[in-house]
């Protein structure tokens, strides 16, 4: 007897959220990102047609092809996914945007657009698949590679790395998280929370490149991540309208309520950490860097930060469905305009 397919509340199976078969390397960290994004969208019962995928250029930016085939997608230009997403998402504010980028895409050519999408707080799940190396062009150092990293092709890196999380905090992103492809459970929860956040949700995912940068002592490798990962908390996500299932001891957890009423539950792990405090987040990163710790989890969140959807003076119904007859101002109004000229 055939096993009954598991379906979500929409009656869709996980395969409805799948994409084309991946052509990334076997073991590539990005495959974990793709898998967890599919799972998060499936479990959150989001209609695939409500999701829109965007990406730049690079291995990371190929990811949208391998997930959510029933969703619209646009593979844009290197470092310029954010502008593409900004223009497109304003066409229908009910859509949920997923932006896939990489460390080359975001921390080099895309630094400007990365900073500016955060400033505008465009609602977008902005995932940086961060492996410290250029994969498609065969192994050059990227701007997030740690000082001292030695790669076959170029030798030792002598420059200081750019920290995506640090840049996101300084750029006033309203949601900043770090995940690790070797910690899929946490990654899925972060994705779920980000999908419900009304604002730019930056998730820096340390996602090892098994071909060019997975040496045990590389800061973007599985081995290094497994040893050095320090999760800030144990995360769970409660969708809007649902109640918390697990009972926690008093004082053991903290909650963050998102724009749509959903909740992120943060269970303490060893330390007291308040993700509503940007200053504390920067302090945490500075200390973690000194101790060679890979801090993961929800590092900062401000669900109340105003988004471009709230700032732009737009009617609630989708702009791209405004009927033709309403697009053009009236004939009378042109007489008024002509009279306004000298």
């Amino acid at each position: 007897m055939a096993r009954k397919k598991r379906v979500n509340e929409l009656g869709l199976s996980k395969s409805d959220y799948a994409g084309a078969s991946t052509t990334l390397c076997a073991g590539c960290g990005h495959n974990a990102i793709i898998g967890q994004m599919i799972a998060a969208c499936f479990e959150e019962n989001i209609p695939p047609e409500k999701l829109v995928k965007f990406s730049g250029i690079g291995c990371s930016s190929k990811a949208p092809t391998y997930m959510l085939k029933r969703s619209f997608g646009f593979n844009g230009l290197h470092g310029r996914m954010p502008s593409l997403a900004t223009g497109a998402l304003l066409a229908d504010m009910s859509l949920i945007g997923i932006g896939m980028s990489g460390d080359g895409d975001t921390a080099s050519i895309g630094m400007g657009q990365f900073k500016h999408i955060m400033r505008r707080n465009v609602p977008l799940v902005y995932v940086v698949a961060n492996n410290g190396v250029y994969g498609l062009t065969k192994g050059q150092l990227s701007a997030t590679a740690e000082e001292g990293l030695a790669l076959k092709r170029q030798g030792q890196n002598k420059y200081m790395p750019i920290d995506i999380v640090w840049e996101a905090l300084v750029g006033r992103a309203s949601f900043v998280a770090r995940g690790f492809s070797g910690d899929p459970k946490q990654l899925k929860t972060l994705f779920k929370a980000a999908l419900h956040h009304r604002g730019t949700a930056v998730i820096d995912v340390i996602s090892p490149c098994v071909t060019f940068n997975n040496m045990d002592d590389s800061h973007h490798s599985y081995a290094w991540g497994k040893i050095h990962e320090v999760a800030l908390h144990e995360l769970s996500f409660v969708p809007p309208g649902k109640s918390i299932k697990v009972k926690y001891e008093k004082g053991e957890t903290a909650e963050v309520t998102l724009h749509d009423g959903s909740q992120i539950i943060l269970k303490k792990l060893g330390r007291d950490y308040d993700p509503n405090n940007r200053g504390a987040a920067l302090q945490l990163l500075e200390e973690a860097n000194k101790k060679n710790e890979l801090v993961t989890g929800l590092i900062y969140i401000n669900p109340k930060q105003i988004s471009i959807f709230d700032i732009e003076y737009l009617p609630p119904s989708p702009l791209n469905r405004v009927p033709d007859e309403e697009l053009r101002p009236s004939r009378d109004s042109l007489d008024k305009v002509n009279a306004m000229m000298f």
Partner: protein, 613 residues
């Protein structure tokens, strides 16, 4: 008493004024007030602002041409000079024709070294001191002194000056009164103190009855709004900035939703032109009527995204208000030097239709037409104007309401997909015209989604590196381009009986070329004039060239870019075409066109000077 020669009567409504001031001194108010007053008196008029790339301090000029015959191109001669700037005093004095009028601020202690002009020192500082002008505003109102003195000398109607100021200050009484007080005081001073009469006068006529006054940037913005514009992203750059600014100024007037009070459009000031292009293309892809406006340097930055929009077939409109390049060039001077850039923008075999509005009114018309064409053809449409057309105020016929309904092209929503009896593919050429059907995000039909990419793709938008698929796809895009040839605005042709030679020009040079045609006819040379309004060229252009012995292609760049493009398109006619290029950053004049053609014409070139002024 010496016997005087009988004086000729004054020249009425047919002369030019050049005003030399210091940039940032508030002279714009004075100069546009003068021009608007002439306009309200019914005198055909044009004003050209020749300004430096600077906020304050460098010399700037404004030329006003009055022409009872309706010629609005810049004139090579100037009959009246107003010198308010000591740094350009000498140069300004030299510009004047013999017998011209020279007004100058009397605090400029320089010699009026010409004796063949009528010189009037103006006690600017004294008049201002005696006026009600608050001390801190004195520097700004200095310029109103020459407005008043010219009003006396030329006979400008005071109430027309008042109307112009009323418009300029949007009815705000305090600045209007302050300015009018200086004007009245200066007129009074002139009446009491000036001994000579001006040989130039203005008289009310009815030459502007059916006209409004506006700029190409404002008209382009309004035309786009009436084309159903929903999204614009831009980055500040001279001389294009006025276009998006006009969208923001006028959309609350005409685009407000009566129920919600909200606008049905978004304007985003991007972080640079790379992002402006990305946003515009994102919005166009998602089904919004979308545009950006920039100038040459910005368009260069938009190249890669434009190439993507071309290949992925995303409708967008790109306005390029041209300034002088290469490089930063002359940012505040005009040019038609971006034709090649705009036509071929992007890597690979890209080619984009270009619309060339030739008047402010046409900027409005092509504003909405460009958005229609972009969505019909699913491709980037360029609209090229220049600093002169974009930034200067021009008299123009009032904007006309679009005479065709909005065209959205081939777009499928849920119901359409549900009722299809064929299998839709994003790039499938179902109709055989090269244009596929598209869907946009938000469409909830399970078959609606597709993946857009700048990489190779097949009819169903799947990734493909297949050689035949690639080749076929590019061929289809070129079929679309050939279709554009039949959809873009046709040229306007002005024929003269018996003309054997032709002229092709476009854009802001129209007034100069038209006027040159009249001058040439008076000199016995008849030319037909084709004003090109778009690329690719239409059959009318080919026929026009075929019909004539020689065709002059007049444009404001060095290489003769349009001449090259047309020559490539119809190589068999190429030898008949002569490139005439003017590339100084100043606006083209009728005299230049006339001289350039006569120099080339057999029978005239041997007799230099025979048609000189």
């Amino acid at each position: 008493m010496t016997e005087e020669k009988p004086k000729p009567g004054p020249v009425v409504n047919d002369f030019s004024i050049t005003i030399g001031t210091v940039n940032g001194s508030g002279s714009q108010t004075a100069n546009t007030t003068l021009m608007r007053a002439f306009f309200k008196m019914g005198i055909p008029v044009s004003g050209k602002n020749i300004f430096p790339s600077n906020i304050q301090g460098l010399p700037t000029w404004y030329t006003i041409r009055l022409s009872k015959d309706g010629y609005v191109a810049r004139s090579e001669t100037t009959e009246i000079v107003v010198a308010m700037n000591k740094d350009s005093f000498q140069e300004d004095l030299e510009k004047l024709i013999p017998g011209g009028v020279f007004l100058y601020a009397d605090d400029i202690r320089q010699e009026v070294f010409r004796e063949d002009v009528l010189a009037f020192p103006m006690p600017v500082k004294k008049i201002i001191r005696e006026s009600d002008t608050p001390r801190k505003l004195r520097d700004y109102l200095n310029n109103m002194v020459y407005v008043g003195i010219l009003a006396h000398l030329l006979g400008i109607e005071v109430e027309k000056l008042q109307q112009a100021l009323d418009f300029h200050f949007n009815g705000k009484q305090t600045p209007i009164d302050l300015n009018m007080e200086v004007i009245n005081r200066s007129m009074k001073w002139a009446a009491e103190n000036l001994e000579h009469e001006s040989p130039y006068r203005v008289e009310a006529m009815d030459g502007t009855d059916d006209y409004i006054m506006s700029s190409g940037n404002t008209a382009g913005a309004l035309g786009s709004i009436y084309g159903g514009l929903q999204f614009a992203a831009w980055y500040p750059i001279t001389p294009a900035t006025g276009l998006p600014e006009a969208i923001m100024k006028y959309r609350p007037e005409v685009q407000t939703d009566p129920e919600t009070g909200k606008y049905k459009s978004v304007v985003v000031q991007a972080e640079d032109e790379l992002a402006a292009a990305g946003m515009t293309i994102g919005a166009g892809w998602a089904g919004l009527r979308s545009m950006t406006a920039t100038s040459g340097p910005g368009l260069s930055l938009m190249g890669e995204y434009t190439s993507l929009a071309y290949y992925a077939e995303v409708p967008v409109v790109l306005w390029n208000v041209q300034r002088m390049g290469p490089s930063t060039g002359l940012p505040t001077r005009t040019s038609q030097g971006d034709i090649n850039l705009a036509h071929y923008l992007g890597q690979g075999d890209t080619q984009h239709p270009i619309l060339f509005p030739g008047s402010v009114n046409e900027c409005f018309e092509f504003g909405w037409k460009a958005l229609d064409l972009a969505e019909e053809l699913q491709t980037p449409i360029m609209v090229l104007i220049d600093l002169d057309l974009g930034m200067n105020q021009w008299m123009t016929s009032p904007f006309e309401y679009p005479d065709t309904p909005i065209k959205r092209g081939k777009i499928l929503w849920e119901e359409d997909l549900e009722n299809l009896d064929w299998e839709w593919g994003r790039y499938l050429d179902k109709d055989g015209d090269g244009i596929p059907y598209r869907t946009v995000p938000g469409n909830t039909h399970p078959k609606s989604a597709y993946f857009t990419r700048g990489t190779g793709h097949d009819d169903y938008a799947n990734y493909s590196e297949d050689p035949e698929t690639w080749d076929e796809n590019i061929k289809r895009l070129n079929r679309k381009f050939e279709l554009a040839r039949t959809l873009v605005p046709k040229p306007k042709i002005h024929r003269r009986d018996g003309a054997e030679i032709g002229v092709i020009a476009f854009g802001s040079t129209d007034p100069a070329v038209s006027e040159a045609g009249d001058i040439l006819e008076a000199a016995g040379v008849r030319v037909d004039y084709l004003r090109l309004r778009a690329l690719p060229i239409t059959t009318e252009v080919v026929e026009f060239i075929q019909e004539h012995d020689r065709v002059y292609v007049v444009e404001m760049n060095h290489h003769g870019q349009l001449h090259q493009i047309i020559s490539q398109d119809i190589p068999e006619q190429a030898l008949k075409m002569v490139s005439l290029t003017y590339n100084t950053g100043l606006q083209l004049t009728a005299d230049w066109v006339k001289n350039a053609i006569l120099t080339e014409e057999p029978g005239f070139s041997e007799k230099p000077g025979s048609f000189s002024d």
